[in-house]
Symmetry: C2
Subunit: 140 residues, 2 copies
DNA sequence: TGAAATTACTTTCCAAGTCAAATAAATTGA
DNA sequence: TCAATTTATTTGACTTGGAAAGTAATTTCA
């Protein structure tokens, strides 16, 4: 154990960062054609999946900080992709809703993302893939 | 196949982003005590591992864009952690070198990072861990 | 009830990142 | 040889991100 000199590239955090970087670079390259950022796409998918999400829930699910989300949403509202609505029960909360333009954009982009996901998963056999998902989820 | 409605959280890119986010958040929390950013730490480890790295090689290994690296290095030079040296053979290239202060800081930080890596890897059994590394490296 | 504490979100201010252009050195080939 | 091209890095204009403060609504409990 004391003899084991660990190279920093072997740290899990490095391996993760490297894989994340290549994958998200290639994805954002694809999304660029649609003038869309990965985070904005994730926001839209979250909205499509779960109804009446608050900014807080959204930030968590879309993997962005609340204040970052707030500004991202400002831009998305300007682009007509989403709109804010004060929540019925609790007026502190804001529900974000997809516009029909937003939904349409999302559907088109979803194809692009599915393509990239298939390219990616084709690098692995079904077994590794399942295991990878399992293991990654344990880290969260 | 057509019946399979895939939730976006199942995309590999999402699982990776989520895991990367939690891991790097917890790591940067630890590094904060040392007034250090993950990227700066990676730069120092790269320098320690491979000698006479150029900015280009460094950017690749430390997982940052060249222009981002250039500015990060400006700050690290101000902090006395590294210094630039025009490469001997090719005067366009710049070799970045650790100062002794930089090396000392790196060693102390390395302990912190090793700790976090152990916490992390203890969540997994040895087999999953090996497989995880294998699979992640296939994605790069 | 209502003042104090908590919660949800946004804004502000500053640090850091990105893209494209600029600089400068090396290489190519007419 | 030397003008044109390529390569390595930095710079500059602009955008984005994050921490902490600010705002406003809700909850707590004396």
């Amino acid at each position: 154990m004391s003899a084991q000199q660990k190279h920093f590239e072997q740290h899990l955090s490095y391996a993760l960062a490297a894989a994340h970087r290549t994958v998200s670079n290639s994805l954002s390259e694809r999304l660029k054609k649609h003038g869309m950022k990965i985070e904005a796409w994730r926001v839209m998918e979250c909205l499509d999946a779960g109804d009446r999400l608050t900014m807080g829930q959204l930030a968590e699910q879309a993997l962005v900080n609340p204040s970052t989300l707030s500004k991202l949403v400002d831009r998305m509202v300007l682009d007509g992709l989403v709109h804010r609505k004060v929540a019925e029960g609790d007026h502190r909360q804001v529900n974000l809703l997809l516009t029909s333009l937003g939904r349409a954009r999302m559907i088109r982009i979803r194809q692009e993302v599915d393509e990239q996901d298939q390219t990616l998963t084709s690098l692995l056999d079904a077994d590794s893939l399942r295991q990878l998902r399992d293991v990654l989820s344990k880290l969260c």
